[in-house]
């Protein structure tokens, strides 16, 4: 029986084959242009056999497409079935957490998006966990999930931990310090649907993306580093160190498994590996507010580790 099997499995593009193609194949041995659905009622054994044949044929073509190109779910999936999990790793964010939560809830409710927010607190000493518990009471534990850890264990492991508890099929990663504004999330979602992208990345360097709170020196370093990265790695994305992205859940899982670096370089490596695995990347310009109050600083240590990471990626990918 030909059925549109659920899109949750990223199997071969069986459900992307339009029905009329199936009927044409069946026509040769069945009566008229009746579709396979009708054949079920008439107990037309040929129809069932043909459908099995079609399914296996498409499975084999899907497999023969090779391991490099990953099959994507079809675009026509109902958006009511999509759920977006936001992973928020936090450390000492007891001031910003309520604000970012309010903004997230506002953006999601205004666009009627099905969402959940997973707060991964790494044992913050400033009471972030208590604030998170209060927020859970206010917004409901179906929307806000608390999944804390005992101590600071790093971003990659925070994502792994978060994904284990995520029930959505898309995952959004972002910073909890108000530098990323949740109002861009509906734009990410729109962009993702537009191009059926595996990853949508927020970029500060293209379109009307930009930054607030950076002095000239910081801007020069940032643009210089980005230029070198583009020349050496040719990644196909304009902003590699940004951490405001939307991923398909399975894509994020796969990439984290493959990545080995830490810090800035971790984000860069994710994009480079995504390119290697032939995932598609879409971009949305975002505004990055680096500290609403005060100045942002970039130390020499960070620059050195960035360059080391960049050269490692250059030599190993």
């Amino acid at each position: 029986m030909v059925k549109n099997t659920g899109c949750s499995s990223r199997g071969p593009g069986f459900n992307s084959v339009p029905t009329w193609q199936l009927t044409t194949i069946c026509n040769s041995s069945s009566k008229g242009s009746s579709d396979l659905l009708a054949s079920k009622n008439t107990k037309h054994t040929c129809g069932i056999q043909t459908s099995i044949y079609i399914k296996s044929k498409i499975s084999s073509t899907g497999a023969s497409r090779g391991g490099a190109a990953s099959p994507r779910p079809p675009q026509g999936r109902s958006s009511r079935q999509d759920k977006y999990s936001v992973l928020l790793p936090t450390y000492n964010e007891h001031e910003n957490l309520p604000l970012i939560m309010w903004l997230l809830v506002k953006s999601f409710s205004e666009s009627a998006i099905n969402y959940e927010i997973i707060i991964i607190d790494d044992g913050s000493p400033d009471g972030t966990r208590e604030v998170a518990e209060q927020l859970e009471k206010i917004y409901g534990s179906d929307r806000i999930l608390l999944r804390p850890r005992e101590k600071k264990l790093g971003l990659g492991t925070a994502y792994i931990h978060g994904i284990k508890h995520a029930t959505g099929n898309y995952v959004i990663i972002m910073d909890a310090d108000l530098s990323h504004h949740p109002k861009f999330i509906p734009e990410f979602i729109r962009k993702q649907k537009e191009g059926n992208f595996d990853i949508v990345s927020g970029t500060r360097y293209k379109g009307n993306g930009g930054v607030y709170g950076w002095d000239l020196k910081r801007k020069i370093i940032s643009r210089g580093a980005n230029f070198i990265t583009q020349i050496l790695l040719r990644p196909g994305a304009s902003d590699l160190t940004g951490s405001f992205k939307l991923y398909r859940k399975e894509v994020l899982q796969k990439l984290i498994e493959k990545c080995v670096s830490k810090g800035y370089v971790f984000q860069m490596e994710m994009i480079v590996r995504a390119r290697q695995l032939n995932y598609t990347i879409g971009e949305v310009p975002i505004s990055f507010v680096d500290r609403v109050y005060g100045e942002s600083k970039l130390g020499g240590n960070e620059i050195v580790s960035f360059l080391k990471g960049l050269l490692t990626l250059f030599a190993t990918t």
Binding site: Y205, V211, Y212
Partner: protein
């Protein structure tokens, strides 16, 4: 192929072509003006590439968008959020 390998191949190819032409290994009778240009060509290309890079970085720094409105919007939203959350019982 690794990016490093691609670069090494590309540079190696260009270098060997230049060396072959300047040393006369291909037995080509190049006119004197051609030879004059060929000899300093790598240095010239390096300097041009450096200037190009500086130009690009300079241009992109100059056109780096400063999001003034984003900050104002964020600051007003922060006040709104604080008021709303206190109403809902959050203790800051």
């Amino acid at each position: 192929m690794l990016k490093l390998t691609q670069w090494l191949w590309g540079l190696g190819l260009l270098d060997s072509a230049w060396a072959a032409l300047t040393m006369g290994a291909l037995d080509l009778e190049l006119s004197f003006p051609c030879q004059e240009v060929l000899w300093p060509l790598p240095a010239y290309l390096l300097v041009s590439a450096g200037c190009y890079a500086l130009g690009i970085v300079g241009y992109s720094v100059a056109t780096f968008h400063d999001c003034e409105d984003a900050v104002r919007e964020l600051q007003s939203q922060i006040l709104e959020a604080q008021a709303d959350l206190t109403r809902n019982g959050l203790c800051f």
